[in-house]
Symmetry: C2
Subunit: 411 residues, 2 copies
């Protein structure tokens, strides 16, 4: 599947860099004048001087992990949304973090990634990302609209009903987590449901190990390409059919910073992904995602000339994603609060048959037994995910202050 979304993605890399740097002063000035947060943190900054990566690197970082407190202080958006933005929707992600969507076309910049994934005007897309409270479903819709693809808003769950819809409507595209695509295709094999229309998948929300990509190919998918996005920043980078790293989206500036020092890492080293958006509706500047990645040197053979990332390489803090949902240390603390019998808890995330699985290991006092079921209900209620509960003796868990251990293999 060849072709390009527009001329921006194939322009000379130097021309792009010149254009991005030329846009910075105006965007910094806009953020400073239109939002309360940047008016405050950029009070001493002259926007006209921010004309290079070096100058950008001197501006303060705004951390995703700080947003819940910022939003409590300045509801609902922590002073990050321009005062005159035309708000259309508000979403909630765990934290809680509230995310705006304005009436700007393709607010999350997903169209470019979809085009690279093989979606073309008129292709019908089966979208299994959730639409309820989380922006995931809408992010996909905004991209599909940009490319000109009608969408089946399937959402999560109801596997049997989704297979019926796929057989009847014959969508060619799939959006969602790769693990749910595997569930759909395997269930179809078992039940004889026709999923032969599905050719291209744009997946995200969780890691895609090479083994899973291979399985999805064996189950009939022509291409399965990843998008890397966050609820605030939209699409940061996307895979192309070249399958060489993830190409950074246009109109954003990506920096990779050392998680501890905040300094730019040496080219190619792993660090935290920090993004500056150049769109007027949500001028996030140096927004630190908490995600780890690294620059992949060189240029993609697909013709796209932008910087490439190695994809999502974990979280700078302990927050992780399980089956596409964020699981945070604060959630484990909440479960402990609900069950004082738990002396210490550690959530262990593993991979079982290419799917995420989790086990909450709980140190409990001797004489406490039979509470696994109630703790399991709390785990489900707090994390919106099922997991096993394992009671262990006091002193059994490692003494490393980790509430979440990501024991998945990503190779």
């Amino acid at each position: 599947m060849s072709g390009h979304y527009d001329v921006l993605e194939t322009r000379d890399a130097e021309a792009r860099e010149t254009a991005l740097m030329a846009a910075l002063p105006g965007q910094v000035a806009h953020a400073k004048s239109a939002t309360d947060h940047y008016a405050e943190v950029l009070a001493a900054v002259d926007p006209h001087a921010v004309t290079s990566r070096a100058a950008l690197a001197k501006l303060p970082v705004t951390r995703k992990s700080s947003v819940p407190a910022m939003q409590k202080a300045r509801p609902p958006f922590g002073g990050l949304l321009p005062r005159h933005a035309r708000l259309v929707r508000i979403f909630q992600s765990p934290g809680p973090i509230y995310e705006p969507e304005t009436d700007q076309a393709d607010f999350w910049g997903y169209g470019r990634g979809f085009y690279a994934a093989g979606f073309r005007e008129g292709d019908l897309i089966h979208n299994t990302f959730a639409y309820h409270l989380t922006p995931a479903g809408r992010m996909v819709e905004s991209g599909a609209r940009a490319v000109g693809c009608p969408v089946i808003p399937a959402g999560t769950g109801n596997t049997e009903q989704q297979l019926k819809v796929i057989a009847d409507l014959r969508p060619s595209g799939y959006c969602g987590t790769p693990s749910f695509l595997k569930i759909l295709l395997e269930r179809a094999r078992e039940t004889g449901a026709d999923t032969s229309s599905l050719e291209h998948a744009s997946v995200g929300g969780e890691a895609l190990p090479p083994a899973l990509r291979k399985v999805l190919g064996e189950l009939g998918m022509k291409t399965v390409l990843q998008g890397y996005a966050t609820a605030e920043l939209g699409l940061i980078a996307y895979e192309s059919p070249a399958l060489e790293g993830m190409i950074v989206n246009e109109n954003i500036v990506v920096e990779i910073l050392h998680p501890a020092t905040g300094d730019p890492v040496t080219a190619g080293e792993v660090g935290e992904v920090v993004v500056t958006l150049l769109k007027p509706d949500y001028p996030l500047l140096r927004f630190a995602t908490g995600d780890l990645s690294a620059v992949l040197p060189g240029t993609s053979p697909c013709g796209r000339t932008n910087m490439r990332l190695r994809g999502w390489m974990g979280r700078a803090d302990q927050t992780t994603k399980v089956k596409g949902m964020f699981v945070m240390p604060t959630m484990i603390a909440e479960i402990q609060r609900r069950h004082p019998e738990i002396l210490k808890a550690r959530l262990v995330v593993t991979t079982v048959d290419n799917l995420d699985a989790m086990t909450l290991r709980c140190e409990v006092a001797p004489g406490t037994a039979g509470i696994e079921h109630r703790i399991g209900d709390s785990l489900q209620s707090v994390c919106k995910l099922r997991g096993k509960i394992e009671l262990v003796a006091p002193g059994s868990l490692p003494n490393d202050f980790k509430a979440i251990e990501d024991a998945r293999k990503y190779d």
Copy 2:
């Protein structure tokens, strides 16, 4: 809450009737030329002659209950969608029936009903209708966009999380079923969550008994007004603060027909609601909903001059709605197919504490016991609703061929 959405709804009733009749010939011609279904069923009809209700009443009816078969014959929309419509989304409702949404602004005409319900530009709306496969959530969004209201796409479930969002974001409007509004407000009372921002509710998807409206008022709602809509036709009629029947939407023609004969009923009598849409994107002509209603004589004191309906008065067939979801005799048949031990089944729908409840009463052979749990799982899986299972002896159920008995009180 006074004011009107536009001048159409307060115009002279005769002027409206003249305008509707003047628009009919063009719409009939459009449907005939742009869609395969109407090209076929109107082959012998001269559109230019359809200039009156009497002439319209001679056109064939298209029954909602026939749509699944029509769509099987002509996928995906049964030849009902104009060939050049700019499709944006496809939904699935039980049947299955596939419903299109095009890029036409406020495709389902919900804006007028929202304005009457008290929603104004800038008001934040908490939308608890589902977005996954069903169009309900999107219908609300299209109306909110028309009025200029940002939306929290809350969807179904996650009551605790929804209460947190309401307390944090302070929406003034609620959309969803009235029973879920009751659940939210009562849970808020129990847990101390702040729902004081909620003032106006636009409810639908199930009946609103006066007792429930009273309870919702006592729980803090200023107004709770109903909309009557279907997934194909959009908003058919809506309540206004006058609380006198449901006012028919603009740009549609409503007929009330005798369910057995198909003839127009005498004014004021109960019959099936049959709707003709005048919008170009989905020119449904004489579309029979299967819903029962009646015209309420006179004019609303709120200044809106259109015909009024008495609201939803049940289904012309046995299909009914439980907690906002359609439950159909074919679903009960599917459960019987899965459990050959069931000799005969009858779903009894009742009201318990103002909420819908259902019990599947199953005649089983002597010696069969302990299968309630498995049947209960099938009920949940097929109907997407929980219900009680009651095993009874052969011959216990009435011999009236009814698979679904609606034992709710609507007074």
